[in-house]
Symmetry: C2
Subunit: 342 residues, 2 copies
DNA sequence: ACAATCTATGGTATCGGTACCATATACCAA
DNA sequence: TTGGTATATGGTACCGATACCATAGATTGT
């Protein structure tokens, strides 16, 4: 015997007016006499009435809600992006629904369907793999605004915001080469994801420019996770000869796995081996950050994506945009010249 | 000239049946002949129809949505809680809306109002201060299920899940005392928050038991932030005499600020000064975590909160529950006996 | 053979808020 | 006085899905 929440008609009855009059008072639209306004306001206060935005959304065909679908908010890279998206959206009275896919295509599909059913006004989405194209086209078919974040999808004409993976990987690899490294291992993320490919591309380009032969044995793949990094590091340092003198982690969590594996192998960083990472990791080492990284600007990525999306939603923009934000190498203490050269 | 999404009536028209028949096909309710079912399914496929859950929610008076309101998902403590909540909710086909208050009462109010208007089925909420009681009663007045997380509010009869702050602070302080520390500084969070009070209470109790006089100069307050920790540490070590030999951070972000301040002051941890923290901080120092902490189990906190909430929503439970989860001291490397005693 | 039951389908009202159109009074200008 | 406009309020339909009741043919039991 739960008491039902009061509706606009309950307020109207109590105030002795029609429902539409209450609506006018609430929204300050049309004409209302001071006296009626007063009575209505008293009735609203007495009943503790709040309007039901479900019915408003149903009428207006808009929910003022956008979805942000990322892989894993446990990673500070994504939480920072999230804050960027939220801050911009809140300024525009848009609410953000946050979803984690854990890089699973099935979870992505589930969320996309759910969110479409709920009449979400727009999507900011991180594809989990090339297969995400199905979900992307599902959204576009329904003419719902969509911005892709971080990872490219081939052959879809859609807005995208991302960091410059190729350039970042290139610069970081060059940095290692300039320190004297020749055997640099690349610990990549999943093979079908564009950021993986592009980071490998930048890595290869830097090697080629320096006339260093590319050894495919030095490139391995796994998830963008600590467990993946650890596994790859243990394998690489146990089985590949000659042993690499520097390790390139394709993201921050992979770097964590690598560092932990190296510790277990009793290899010191940077004295015995150098490590660099794509993406920064706050508090990677206290009191001072330790990892040399190429950092994207995640907050700005989120902001830009939100701005693009809002442009679409408002209808102010109709041409597709591809935004690539610059990255920055931050040199810290995880690298040294290779051991043999010291 | 945006094309409108197809409705159930469009499907019905195309299939040559009534809307209600389409509804029956979709929901597998009532009777439908194989032939009709076929026609309807073809029509659904052709139009790419998906049902509008807004109207369903309006009818059913339920949205299958719960809100999780925390202070800041940048802090891994809250993201981990979030994952616990999400995992349980997803198992029950509930969707989670995540909101950050940044510890600001105004943001909390804004979210609570918005979420109530959207007919959210339940709330899991971290109060920002004692003033949050207004928002809490607003929710309870509307008979919407609510579980308070992490921080107690006095004089409200409401479900709550939290870690054992008093006991945790007590144990951590005892640990320091056993190492020989007598002057232990407490870097607390905001003064009106229950976890602050309780951690101070545990700290004081341990001191009293050891017959160590409580020096109010050794207790300072600020936000649960890195900036707060830094500021408090610089003040404490510059102005208070005799200087404390051990520092107690009331949360992980305060600990970060402290460690960075100590680095700036060229004090080594633990050789020159010991540091402990409430709440763990993943990757606080790579490759191996460094801080000695008392850890709550954030994932479990989130799970428990979600379970309590679901019990309320389903109506299976009507009495209020207060759950206090145990905490655990994790000794690592940030503490040593006080310098003078070495 | 006839009622009872099963199977299949549709009409209408409803959830809560608001757009649209209608109505009615007051006031001013010509 | 007439007409036009500003002010104030209400009735009805609609957004999309579905519960409830109604209808009607097919099937079964006695």
């Amino acid at each position: 015997m739960k008491k039902k929440r009061p509706t606009i008609r309950d307020v109207a009855k109590l105030a002795g007016v029609a429902a539409i009059t209450v609506s006018r008072v609430i929204n300050n639209s049309g004409y209302t006499s001071d006296e009626t306004r007063d009575r209505v306001e008293r009735a609203i206060a007495e009943l503790n009435y709040i309007p039901n935005s479900l019915s408003q959304s149903l009428r207006f065909q808009t929910t003022n809600t956008v979805a942000l679908i990322v892989s894993d908010i446990t990673n500070p890279f994504w939480t920072t992006i999230t804050r960027g998206v939220e801050d911009v959206c809140n300024d525009h009275d848009l609410h953000v629904i946050l979803c984690n896919t854990d890089e699973k295509e099935a979870k992505l599909s589930k969320y996309v369907n759910m969110l479409l059913q709920r009449q979400t006004d727009g999507f900011i989405l991180v594809p989990t793999s090339a297969a995400s194209i199905n979900n992307v086209t599902t959204i576009l078919q329904k003419h719902v605004p969509l911005v892709i974040l971080d990872r490219q999808l081939p052959q879809v004409d859609v807005d995208i915001v991302r960091g410059d993976s190729v350039e970042g990987a290139y610069q970081l690899t060059r940095y290692l080469i300039e320190l004297g490294h020749q055997r640099i291992a690349m610990f990549s993320g999943p093979i079908e994801i564009s950021t993986s490919e592009q980071r490998i591309e930048g890595y290869k380009r830097a090697l080629q420019e320096a006339d260093i032969a590319i050894d495919d044995e030095l490139i391995t793949f796994s998830g963008y996770t600590e467990a993946g990094g650890r596994k790859m590091a243990l394998h690489m340092l146990g089985n590949v000869q000659p042993t690499p003198t520097a390790l390139f982690a394709a993201n921050n969590f992979i770097a964590v796995g690598i560092l932990r594996a190296l510790y277990q192998l009793e290899l010191r960083v940077p004295q015995d081996i150098s490590v660099v990472s794509f993406d920064d990791l706050p508090f990677d080492t206290l009191p001072e950050p330790f990892l040399t990284v190429v950092a994207q600007a995640p907050y700005e990525l989120g902001m830009k994506a939100a701005e693009l999306l809002i442009g679409r939603i408002s209808g102010e923009r109709t041409h597709t945009e591809e935004i690539t934000l610059p990255v920055e190498v931050i040199v810290r203490k995880s690298c040294a010249p290779p051991k043999s050269q010291i």
